[in-house]
């Protein structure tokens, strides 16, 4: 493969040099030269105003007719399906309709309760139930081999899983076993009308760039999808999907991994990546005591408490609540940042949030550049005012209900 530059068409505007994330392009006299750092990310191809750049790859043959199903991985915890499974069913049903193919769900475990009841009234045609004593506890290895085995049997066109901690550990294993492509953390999925291929759109570079990725010649096309991005479907009726039970060859479940313990965090399971509302605090709060009113605000808004790197490093807040490059990437409906200046690393973890509110005493804080709403003020005055009003509103609602 090679990056081709049509020197006759090139106007030397140098935008490609400016935008190349890898610094792989340079001007050599009157030509653009491609250096060894080029990873063929395609950004220059996209931005070149005169279409002078192209990527030449070996001609890829078309995938074998992928007329199989859309298969959703049914992540569950003790038999209870994760909410992302329903979100995937919502999106998967859309894709299956476009492709005129069935929508199926695979659930693996042992001694599973009635999973089908949870899927009643949804557009799921078949549930594949895989049960084996070795699958009683979730482990990446046995679950990965089991899923890859089932994919080999079913030959689905598309496999979707939640981009949860589990999905992000499991699916890369499955994709390698199936010798196919996997796109992580998708926020958009649609079918390309000319080819019927799955267009998988995801944020990269900490959400600064969006990339659309396609798996042309390998099947299935696999994607993990961020929780809370797709809409769960409405239930229509109570019809249950067909059930197909599978036995697992025992060699697939052999494993060198043992689960010794599982426990929820000090304050119960905290997963800020799946909260609808996050109230995050930074160094501007002055100390751990600054987080008390913040926790109250989070509770009043029905959200979780989050934090910037600085305060996690200072030990004010535990690591599992850290947002940003070295913490978690979050995408809540509402993100309230208090006393957070908005460094690039923090921004990378939260800029895909639907609505961003910033409260900061510094009117020049970078956070105001990418927030939707901002209050310039001292958190010691603004937080109590917000809490007081929300409490009053809550009390008034309570009175109305009575």
């Amino acid at each position: 493969m090679a990056l081709r530059i049509d020197h006759a068409a090139c106007t030397l505007c140098l935008r490609c040099i400016e935008e190349c994330p890898y610094g792989a392009l340079a001007q050599l006299e009157d030509r653009i030269a491609v250096g060894e750092a080029c990873t063929f990310c395609g950004l220059c191809v996209e931005i070149c105003p005169v279409a002078a750049i192209s990527i030449e790859a070996k001609e890829t043959e078309r995938a074998e007719a992928g007329r199989g199903a859309v298969l959703v991985y049914g992540e569950h915890h003790e038999g209870r399906l994760h909410h992302v499974v329903f979100e995937l069913i919502g999106k998967g049903a859309e894709l299956a309709t476009t492709l005129r193919c069935p929508l199926e769900v695979v659930v693996a475990g042992h001694g599973l309760p009635d999973v089908c009841a949870q899927l009643a009234g949804l557009a799921v045609d078949t549930v594949h139930l895989v049960e084996h004593p070795a699958l009683a506890q979730y482990r990446d290895g046995p679950f990965g081999r089991t899923l890859a085995h089932l994919i080999g049997e079913l030959r689905p066109a598309i496999v979707l899983a939640g981009a949860t901690g589990r999905g992000r550990s499991l699916m890369p294993r499955v994709a390698v076993l199936c010798r196919t492509g996997l796109t992580a953390d998708c926020t958009g999925l649609e079918i390309e009308s000319e080819t019927g291929d799955l267009l998988q759109t995801r944020p990269a570079f900490g959400g600064n760039v969006m990339a659309t990725i396609v798996t042309r010649r390998h099947r299935p096309q696999m994607a993990t999808v961020r929780p809370k991005v797709m809409t769960p479907p409405e239930r229509k009726g109570t019809a249950r999907p067909r059930v197909r039970r599978w036995a697992v060859p025992s060699e697939l479940t052999a494993s060198r991994t043992q689960v010794l313990a599982r426990q929820a965090g000090d304050q119960g399971p905290v997963n800020i990546a799946e909260a609808d509302v996050l109230v995050a605090g930074g160094r501007g709060l002055g100390g751990p005591e600054g987080f008390k009113p913040l926790a109250e605000l989070a509770a009043l808004l029905g959200g979780e408490l989050a934090a910037s790197r600085a305060v996690v490093d200072a030990g004010w807040v535990p690591y599992e609540r850290q947002v940003g490059q070295t913490g978690k990437t979050v995408q809540p409906r509402l993100y309230v940042a208090v006393g957070i200046s908005g460094a690039v690393q923090h921004r990378a973890g939260m800029q895909s949030s639907e609505t961003i509110v910033a409260i900061n005493s510094d009117p020049d804080a970078p956070i105001f550049q990418f927030a939707d709403y901002g209050i310039v003020g001292d958190h010691r005055e603004v937080l109590p005012a917000l809490i007081e009003r929300l409490r009053a509103a809550r009390a008034a609602e309570g009175a109305e209900d009575e």
Binding site: M1, I17, E18, E19, P21, G23, E36, C38, F40, G42, A57, D140, G141, G144, S169, L170, M171, P172, R173, V176, T180, L182, L199, A204, F205, G206, N208, V209, M210, A211, T212, I213, R256, T257, Q258, L260, A261, R262, P269, A273, E274, V277, Y319, Q325, T326, G327, R333, A343, P363, F370, G374, I375, V376, G377, V382, P384, L386, E388, R389, L390
Partner: protein, 261 residues
């Protein structure tokens, strides 16, 4: 114990500025750095060899200039550095990258444990660590926040899951991907940086690792990037300033109107 730590050189997003008009990144002159999350993997590997004895080998796939990331790994305590570099590797997606890395680990031969950072800050996929584990046929533990014990046969680790903590015992050889929570990476001293500058970095090309050349680089990658674009620019921030009671009221009224609360 022979530990390999896989690292990546990435653009330093901390040096990236935002074009205020277009809302896009200004990438010009952005330096390349060791992926920040890999620093915890390097420290984890080096600390473990210091405790249990053995060697830590840093392994990186990338263009020739990625050697700088390997020198940093040496300055941070790695004993040996290998750069997988060849035009044949360029454009590799996570499948193909993990395949080439697995070929290199296999060539090293006596590896007990591979450390990786949770993910790289440019691609953010977190797929190479698990992919590498499968190519090698090894078990894995991802999101590792603590190493409880490591013997020649197994490691016991605590990992952060969506539901809390999980303690695993994983038989060796195995792949670990680690979180920032694992340790406080040492800063390279001046002396170690000088030493790292003189330390040889081995270069392996596609012909040096025993692999199927058709699986390398863009041609061996099942995925293709078909479009790259900047996300829609947010509207300008509506900012309120002044009397806290008034600004608080305005914010709540707005959030209510937008059905956010």
């Amino acid at each position: 114990m022979h530990i390999v730590v896989c690292i990546k050189q990435v653009p330093d997003t901390a040096e990236v500025r935002i074009d205020p008009e277009r809302g896009t990144l200004i990438r010009e002159g952005v330096p390349s750095i060791l992926n920040p999350l890999d620093a915890y993997a390097v420290e984890g590997a080096v600390a473990l060899t210091e405790r249990n004895g053995g060697t830590a080998t840093a392994l990186c796939m990338g263009p020739p200039q990625a050697e700088a990331a390997l020198r940093e790994a040496i300055a941070r305590g790695c004993d040996r550095a290998i750069l997988l570099t060849d035009r044949a590797f360029a454009g590799a997606d996570t499948w193909s990258t993990s395949y080439a890395l697995a070929c290199a680990v296999r060539k090293l031969g006596d590896v007990d444990l591979v450390f990786c950072g949770k993910q790289a800050i440019d691609g953010d996929t977190a797929q190479v660590g698990p992919g590498l584990a499968v190519h090698l046929g090894w078990p894995q533990a991802t999101y590792v926040r603590r190493i409880i014990e490591a013997t020649d046969e197994a490691v016991a680790v605590e990992r952060l899951t969506d539901w809390g903590n999980e303690t695993l015992r994983v038989g060796l050889p195995a792949v670990l991907t680690v979180l920032k929570d694992l340790n406080f990476p040492r800063l390279p001293s001046l002396v170690s940086q000088m030493q790292a500058r003189r330390c040889p970095v081995e270069r392996w090309g596609a012909g040096d690792i025993d692999g199927d050349a058709a699986q390398f680089g863009l041609d061996g990658s099942p995925t293709r990037v078909v479009k790259v674009f900047t996300p829609p620019v947010r509207g300008a921030c509506v900012v309120w300033q002044g009397e806290p009671q008034k600004t608080a009221a305005k914010l709540i009224e707005t959030l209510r109107r937008e059905a956010l609360i």
